[in-house]
Symmetry: C2
Subunit: 187 residues, 2 copies
DNA sequence: GTCTATACGAAGATAGAC
DNA sequence: GTCTATCTTCGTATAGAC
C-alpha cells in the first residue's frame, strides 16, 4: 500500500475543506475522519499542511475537469445544465453540509501560494467551459463570458444555498443561466 | 465614549474577515489592527467571538443595504451597474486583498447561528435587489431571477478575481450580467 | 511507514484588580 | 471600561523508536 493513506488524507482534506473550511481541515480532524495513520503525516507531506492543502486543491480541481471532459461535443445548453447539475448534487448529496472546497481555501487563505493555486483552478474551469460552450454553439465572446458567469455564479450560489439550507436561490440562478445560454445562442 | 471601541472592533472584524477569513478575525488580531482596548472585549461582547462575528455580519449586511437604498427609482440597468460597481470597488480599493466578509464566514462556519445569520443577509440583499429591478422595469419573475443571479455571481466573481489578483474574470461576469438585464427587459 | 512523545505558539475564555 | 494574569484547548511541527 504505497500511497493509499496518502490519498485518503487528501480526499479527507477536500471533504473537510468543503464542509467546515480551512481551519477545520487540520491534521487531527483529517486523521479522525479518515482513519488515516497519525504518524506518517510528515512522511507523506514533508511540506506540512500547506502541501496537503495544495494537493487537495489540485485534486478537487481536476476531478471537476474530468466531469467536464465527459461533455465534449454536447450542445451549449447541455454543457451548462451538466455543470449546474454537478454543483446541485454537491448540495443535495451532502444535505447542505458541503460547499466548494477550493472557494473555502480562497476565503481563508493564509499563503499566497495556495491562493494562486486556487486561482489557476478557476482559470482552468473557465477556459475548459468556454471551449465546450464554443463547440456547443456559442460564438467566442459569448462562450467566454458565459463560462466566466457559470463558474462565478455557481460558486456563489452554492455558498449561498448552503448557508440557507435551501435550493431556492440556487434554482433561481440555474434558471436564469439557462435562459442566458439560449439568448446567447440566438445572437 | 460609550461604544466607540465597540464599533471599532466590529469594523475591524469585518475587515479581517474580508481580508483573511474567520480564523484570522481573532481578538488578538482585531486589537492589533484597530488599537481597540484589550481588556474590554468580554465586556462589550459577553457572548465571545460568536457574538462579535454575528454583529459583524449584521453590520456588513446593512451597509450594503444602505447602498441599495440609494438606488430607489433607477432603471434596472443602473441598479445592476451600481451593485456591480460596489463589488468592483471592494477589489480595486483593497488591491485584491478583500473579499466579501460574509462569504468568508459561510465557508468557515463553525456555528449554525452564524450560518443562518449570513443566510438572512443574502436573502435580504436578493429581495431588496429584486424589488429595485422590478420597479426599474423588469417583470416580477425576471426581477427575482436576476436578483438571485446578481448576488450569487458577484459573490463568486469577487472571490475568484481576488484569488486571481486580476479584474479579468470579474469584468467578463459584469458584461454578461448587463447583457442579461437588457435581454430581460425586452421580454 | 507508522508510532509516541514533546515543544511551541495561538486561540478562546475567565477572574479579579484598578 | 479597561487592564493583567492565567487556564485550557488545539493547532503545527520535530525527534527518535519500532
Amino acid at each position: 500500500m504505497p500511497r493509499l493513506s496518502r490519498e485518503k488524507m487528501i480526499e479527507g482534506a477536500i471533504k473537510l475543506l468543503a464542509m467546515r473550511g480551512l481551519h477545520a481541515a487540520s491534521f487531527s480532524e483529517i486523521i479522525e475522519a479518515t482513519g488515516a495513520p497519525r504518524g506518517s503525516i510528515y512522511h507523506h507531506f514533508p511540506g506540512g499542511k500547506d502541501q496537503l492543502i495544495a494537493e487537495a486543491i489540485d485534486l478537487a480541481g481536476s476531478q471537476a475537469v474530468e466531469l467536464l471532459n465527459a461533455l465534449e461535443d454536447q450542445a451549449a445548453e447541455t454543457v451548462a445544465e451538466q455543470f449546474i447539475a454537478m454543483w446541485r448534487s454537491l448540495l443535495t448529496a451532502s444535505a447542505y453540509q458541503a460547499g466548494c472546497s477550493i472557494l473555502a481555501v480562497t476565503t481563508a487563505s493564509g499563503s499566497d501560494a495556495l491562493l494562486s493555486r486556487a486561482a489557476a483552478v478557476f482559470r482552468e474551469w473557465s477556459s475548459r467551459l468556454s471551449e465546450l460552450l464554443y463547440r456547443g454553439g456559442l460564438d467566442e465572446d459569448n462562450a467566454r463570458r458565459m463560462a466566466a458567469l457559470l463558474v462565478a455564479s455557481c460558486e456563489g450560489a452554492v455558498a449561498i444555498s448552503r448557508a440557507q439550507k435551501s435550493l431556492d436561490s440556487f434554482e433561481l440562478v440555474a434558471e436564469q443561466l439557462l435562459i442566458d445560454i439560449k439568448n446567447a445562442r440566438s445572437n
